[in-house]
């Protein structure tokens, strides 16, 4: 079991191999479908982002929130299916210089390549475990694009403590855990026959 704190450096990411279990602390931000497109569009237009995303970890998630007297409270925030973001993820990594992504369900070849090239990783968190994830949030630091994109797709900036278990599914060396597992199962089934 490994523990990491954001912002991450290249050498932090290089410690990770596909199949490792990691717990994250520090600042992370939620981003998915239209959030990613919005951020990519802003950078391409030369507009400055509300915060620097370099070294941070992107969380594919859209929370359940409650507004309290003290500000926003997140009650549940498990991951969403990452594969929907496959088309834009490589460009997103490239443009923002994030060092990690957390989601669920796995990602494809384009993301594997981008993680290798930019020294980043993709990890999976148990899908549906939204209440557990919410317990690791120490503070909702801010939110952006809420009015325009709505609650699930707004960018929520969170301070987390020991957010996990996260399993490294794509490391910075070109390994994809799901491909490895599928190959192993195919191998075993072949031997059975």
């Amino acid at each position: 079991m490994l523990e990491l704190r954001t912002p991450l450096k290249e050498e932090d990411v290089e410690k990770l191999s596909a199949g490792d279990v990691v717990y994250l602390s520090g600042t992370i931000f939620t981003s998915r479908d239209r959030t990613q497109l919005k951020i990519i569009e802003m950078i391409k237009k030369g507009l400055s982002l509300p915060i620097s995303l370099a070294g941070l970890v992107e969380y594919h998630a859209g929370p359940v929130i409650k507004k309290t007297e003290k500000g926003w409270a997140i009650l549940s925030v498990g991951p969403t299916t990452s594969f929907r973001m496959e088309k834009y993820e490589a460009e997103f990594i490239e443009l923002t210089n994030i060092k990690g992504i957390v989601g669920k369900g796995g990602m494809g070849k384009l993301t594997v390549e981008a993680c290798k090239k930019n020294k980043a990783f993709y990890g999976i968190y148990p899908g549906g475990a939204g209440a557990l994830a919410a317990k690791s949030i120490k503070q909702v630091k801010d939110n952006y694009f809420l009015e325009e994109l709505g609650v699930p797709e707004a960018m929520w900036v969170l301070e987390v403590e020991k957010f996990g278990p996260i399993v490294v599914a794509i490391d910075s060396f070109g390994n994809n855990l799901y491909d490895q597992i599928k190959r192993k199962i195919a191998e075993e089934n072949k031997n059975e026959r």
Binding site: V64, T81, K104, G128
Partner: protein
Amino acid sequence: MKDEKLKDYIKEAIKVSVTSLPCDVKSKLVETYEKEEGLSKVFLKAIIENVEIADKESRPICQDTGTFSFFVRRGNFEEYKIREAIIQALREANEEIPLRPNAIDFLTRKNLGGNVGRFLPWVTWEYPEDNILRITVVPKGGGSEVLSVTRVLPPVSQEEEMIKIIVDDVFEAWAKPCPPLFLGIGIGPTSEIATNIAKRALYERKVGERHEEEAIAILETKIMERANKLGIGTHGLGGKFSVLDVHLDYASIHPASLVVSIVGSCWALRRATLVVEDNKRAEIVSHNIKLSD
């Protein structure tokens, strides 16, 4: 019974459906955790911990509080009154639990800010001949829909062809629909009938309960065994359990078509069934919760 009371009962059932798993689903997860190994076991442990936190603190189990469907046997209540109560309960639940606003307008893609929209919530009516009102609340997460498939086969198709479609579908989806899964399979003459049957089989029967006809019960077990040989495990991390249960049911088919519909649920098979007998009892039977007057 006052309309207000009915709305409050339904609101409670909505809350229970998103914050607590039914007893049978919870026991199945614990049983699976005990038998599973490796990284899948690590994730199952987190999942069970999550279910306990959600239950204790009344937090949504999953941040995707789903799209709401209601299966209603209306007893001696009037349909429009039940519909009104459901919509009002959903609006209030949206703020009070709270729920995630998941209704998006198709044309503008604007978030409507709640869970009521065009044709939503979806209500299926049934008319049994008794005076008992029975409402099953089903919040269905978006991710678990990745698995949904409807296939029209020639009516001469044999069992193996159907099993292959189902097993290939589960394999293809891999980790996306949040396995280990629960499957509802419907067979019928049209896509609409087959899908309705699949949904009902998934949500009305208890986990572990086999079909009353032996031939179908055997088929269910066969599908489950074949799917578990895929080795997908929890969230695709590899393991012995990819599918936790299969509920299959059928309607008579047509000379030219045999439709197979697959409806999947993630490990969090969320449902809550409210039973109301006027002036006698109100109970969420899926969770053994008695509601007071």
